[in-house]
C-alpha cells in the first residue's frame, strides 16, 4: 500500500503492548460511561452510544468487514470521498490521558496532549488504529503535520496538504486539486474508480446526518437537558466510529425520543446556560463538563471540531456532476471551518457570537488546551470581542490530566458566582 513517506531514514518503531495502560484506558471509558449512565431522567436510546466506547464490538466488526478502514485525524479528511469509495473512516483523535506517558517515549513532551494521546495507541497496539489500513492526516497544526512521519512507521500514511489562508479565489482551485489527489489515492487503494452516483449517495448520507444533527440542536436549544452536553458529545463522537447508516437510524430513534420527551417540559436548563469554545473536548476527557454539571449549571452550546462543528456542515453542490460534487466537498471542509489553524479567527468569532446569542448563553468557557498554540493565540481576540458584546468569558488553561480538577472547579465556580 502506498504511503507519502518513502523511507530513507527511519526511527525504530516502538511496540510496547502494556496491559496495565490498556486497562486504565478501558477503565477511563467505563468510568465515564457509568457516570453518564447515572444521570437523572436519561433517555433510553443513549446507552447504545456508550457501547461504542466501552466494548470492542465495533472494532471486531471492522476487522472482519471486507472494507478498507481509513483512520483520519481532525476535521479535514473528506469523509464523503471515503464513503464514496466504499471504505470506512475512523477518526483517531483521542482524549485519553493514560496513553500520554507511553507516547512521550517517542514524541517530545512539549506538544499538544491530543497528539500525544492519540499516538500512544499505535505503540500499545491498541485502540481504533489497530483496525485501520491506512491513515489520512491533514496538516492542520504543527503537531499533526509532524505526526505523519511518526505514524508512517506503523501504517501507510497519506498527508493532506491543508491550506491555511482562506482566500476564496486562490484556495478553491488549489484545495480542489488536493481533494482530487486524495480521491485518486483512495481509488488506487480500492482498485476502482469512484463514479458520480456513489459520490452522490455519500453526499446525501452525510447531508442527512447534518440535518439530523441540526434538528437535534434546535430541539435542544429549548430543552438543553434532553441531552447533557456530555451525552451530546458522546453521540457526536460515536459517529467517528460507528457504521454511518446504523448511526443515523439510531440517532433518528434518539431524536424521536427527544421530541417526545421535550413535551414533558422537565428538560429545561438548570443554573446558568454556558457555551464551550476552544480546543476539542474528546471522550473521555469530559472533566470540565462534569465539573459544570456538578456545580449545577448547563452547557447548551459548543463550537468544537469534535462537537457541534463536526456534524453541522455538509456539502451542498450547485450541480450533481462529479466535478460539481468534488467542488462542494472541497468547499465544505475549508470555508465554514472555524479551526484556528487558518490565519484569521474572525469567522470563528462570528460563529461563537451567533451560537452564544442563539443559545442565549450567560457565559462562555474558553477551553485552552495547554501547548496548543493556535487556540491560545486566538484567545485574546475572542475574549475581547465577547466581552465587548456583554458576554462574560473565562479561559481554562488545562490539559488531559486530572490533577487540576480542583483548581478548575474554583475557576468555574468563581465564574458562575461572577455572572450571578
Amino acid at each position: 500500500m502506498k504511503t507519502d513517506f518513502e523511507k530513507r531514514y527511519q526511527r525504530a518503531p516502538l511496540h510496547r503492548p502494556a496491559e496495565k495502560v490498556s486497562a486504565r484506558v478501558r477503565a477511563a471509558s467505563e468510568d465515564l460511561a457509568a457516570r453518564l449512565h447515572k444521570q437523572p431522567d436519561r433517555l433510553v436510546s443513549l446507552p447504545y452510544y456508550e457501547e461504542l466506547f466501552t466494548t470492542e464490538k465495533r472494532k471486531k466488526e471492522l476487522q472482519i468487514l471486507n472494507r478498507k478502514v481509513v483512520g483520519t485525524y481532525c476535521y479535514f479528511a473528506p469523509e464523503e470521498l471515503i464513503y464514496a469509495s466504499g471504505d470506512v473512516p475512523i477518526r483517531l483523535c483521542s482524549g485519553h490521558s493514560d496513553t500520554i506517558t507511553t507516547a512521550e517515549e517517542l514524541l517530545p513532551r512539549d506538544i499538544c496532549p491530543l497528539v500525544k494521546s492519540s499516538f500512544g495507541f499505535p505503540i500499545l497496539g491498541d485502540g481504533w488504529i489497530d483496525a485501520c489500513d491506512v491513515i489520512a492526516l491533514p496538516t492542520s497544526c504543527d503537531a499533526k503535520t509532524k505526526l505523519g512521519e511518526y505514524l508512517a512507521d506503523y501504517l501507510p500514511v497519506w498527508m493532506i496538504n491543508l491550506p491555511k489562508i482562506k482566500n476564496y479565489d486562490g484556495l478553491k482551485e488549489y484545495w480542489l486539486k488536493e481533494i482530487k489527489l486524495f480521491l485518486h489515492k483512495l481509488e488506487e487503494l480500492n482498485g476502482k474508480k469512484v463514479k458520480a452516483p456513489e459520490l452522490k449517495n455519500a453526499l446525501q448520507l452525510l447531508k442527512r446526518r447534518a440535518e439530523l444533527y441540526r434538528a437535534m440542536y434546535e430541539l435542544r436549544l429549548a430543552h438543553p437537558l434532553l441531552l447533557s452536553h456530555q451525552d451530546l458529545l458522546m453521540v457526536v463522537q460515536s459517529s467517528f466510529y460507528d457504521d454511518l447508516p446504523r448511526w443515523i437510524n439510531q440517532t433518528e430513534l434518539l431524536y424521536n425520543e427527544m421530541k417526545k420527551a421535550s413535551a414533558t417540559g422537565k428538560y429545561a436548563a438548570k443554573g446558568k446556560r454556558l457555551m464551550i469554545t476552544g480546543a476539542p473536548i474528546i471522550w473521555p476527557n469530559f472533566k470540565i463538563l462534569n465539573i459544570i454539571t456538578e456545580l449545577g449549571s448547563t452547557v447548551v452550546a459548543d463550537d468544537m471540531c469534535a462537537g457541534h462543528q463536526r456534524l453541522w456542515d455538509y456539502a451542498e453542490p450547485d450541480e450533481w456532476t462529479l466535478e460539481g460534487m468534488l467542488e462542494a466537498v472541497a468547499a465544505r471542509y475549508i470555508f465554514p471551518s472555524v479551526c484556528p489553524c487558518f490565519t484569521t479567527s474572525y469567522d470563528r468569532i462570528d460563529k461563537i457570537l451567533h451560537l452564544a446569542r442563539e443559545a442565549k448563553v450567560d457565559g462562555v468557557i474558553y477551553h485552552d488546551l495547554r501547548l496548543c498554540q493556535i487556540f491560545d493565540m486566538e484567545k485574546d481576540l475572542v475574549v475581547k470581542v465577547l466581552k465587548e458584546n456583554q458576554i462574560p468569558v473565562i479561559t481554562l488553561h488545562t490539559d488531559y490530566g486530572q490533577e487540576d480538577v480542583e483548581q478548575l472547579r474554583t475557576r468555574i465556580e468563581a465564574f458562575l458566582e461572577m455572572i450571578l
Binding site: 488545562t398 474554583t410 475557576r411 458566582e417
Partner: protein, 262 residues
C-alpha cells in the same frame, strides 16, 4: 449576631470571627496534610481567643482551596468572591478599589471590580506555582532566610539582577548558582521579588487594571514586593491591615447575609 469565615488555603488556613460588622478575632495555622482537622482547630482557636463557644456562632461559610472538605460550613464560596466581598467591606481609604491583587500560597489572582464592588472579571495563574507564595517559600529556604524577612532584605539591594521566575524549580537552582558566585543575598532577593512583580504586573495589565489597586493575601506582607509592584504598576496600592484574612472576612460577611435572608 456572630458569624465566622474559614479560608482553607493551600498553605495557611485562616479563621475570622465577625460580630455585626466588627472583627472579633482572627487565627491562622499552616494547612498541613489534613485540612479538615486544621480547619476545625483554627476555628476553635479563634473562638477561644474571645471566649466563645461553637454554639455562639450562627453561621460559618468556608472558602479557599479546601472549602469543600470542611463539614461545619453551611455554604461555600470561591476565594474570588470572598476576596471581593472582603475588600468591598473595608471601604475605600485610598479611593474606590477597582482591582484586587491577591497573592496566596499557590495562586496569583487579579480581580477587577465594577463600581458597585462586584466581581467584573478575574484571572488566575495556571497550575504552575511560579511567582506564588509557595515560590517565595522555596526561595527563602534556598537562601536560608526566614520568609517574613524577605521583604526587608529586598529593599536593601544595591544592584539589580534579573532572575527568571517562569519555573519554581529552575529559579531555585538559579538562586543557588548565584549564591555560588558570591552575589549578595539582598540582591538576589530583590531580583526574585522583581521577577514576581513583573509577572503580576503583566497579569494585571492584561486584564485591564484600574486604580485603586488593593493588594491582599500573604504576599502583601512582603514590603519589598509591594514597593516593586507599585513601581511596576505605577500606582500606590492599598494594603489592608490583615491582608491574609480578607478571604475569611469575605466569607464571614457572606455568612451574615445568610441570616438576613432567613
Amino acid at each position: 449576631m456572630i458569624t465566622a469565615g474559614v479560608d482553607i488555603g493551600s498553605v495557611g488556613t485562616k479563621a475570622l470571627i465577625l460580630e455585626d460588622g466588627k472583627i472579633l478575632s482572627t487565627e491562622i495555622m499552616p494547612t498541613g496534610s489534613r485540612p479538615k482537622i486544621t480547619a476545625q482547630m483554627v476555628l476553635a482557636k479563634a473562638l477561644a481567643k474571645v471566649k466563645l463557644k461553637p454554639d455562639d456562632v450562627r453561621h460559618v461559610v468556608s472558602t479557599g482551596y479546601g472549602r469543600r472538605v470542611v463539614d461545619f460550613g453551611e455554604k461555600t464560596i470561591t476565594e474570588i468572591s470572598a476576596c471581593a466581598q472582603g475588600v468591598k467591606f473595608l471601604g475605600a481609604p485610598k479611593g474606590t478599589v477597582r482591582t484586587i491583587i491577591d497573592l496566596g500560597g499557590q495562586d496569583i489572582k487579579v480581580i477587577t471590580l465594577d463600581d458597585e464592588g462586584n466581581t467584573k472579571d478575574f484571572v488566575m495563574n495556571d497550575k504552575c506555582a511560579a511567582g506564588t507564595g509557595r515560590f517565595l517559600e522555596v526561595i527563602a529556604h534556598a537562601l536560608e532566610i526566614e520568609l517574613a524577612k524577605l521583604g526587608e532584605l529586598a529593599l536593601q539591594a544595591k544592584q539589580t539582577i534579573t532572575i527568571n521566575a517562569t519555573c519554581t524549580v529552575f529559579a531555585e537552582s538559579e538562586v543557588i548558582s548565584l549564591l555560588a558566585q558570591d552575589v549578595k543575598k539582598q540582591d538576589i532577593i530583590a531580583g526574585i521579588v522583581d521577577s514576581i512583580a513583573e509577572r503580576i504586573a503583566a497579569m494585571s495589565n492584561k486584564i485591564g487594571m484600574r486604580p485603586t489597586v488593593a493588594f491582599t493575601g500573604g504576599g502583601a506582607q512582603n514590603i519589598g514586593l509591594v514597593k516593586s509592584l507599585e513601581k511596576k504598576l505605577d500606582t500606590e496600592m492599598y494594603i489592608p491591615e490583615l491582608p491574609q484574612f480578607i478571604n475569611a472576612l469575605g466569607s464571614a460577611l457572606v455568612a451574615q447575609r445568610l441570616q438576613s435572608l432567613r
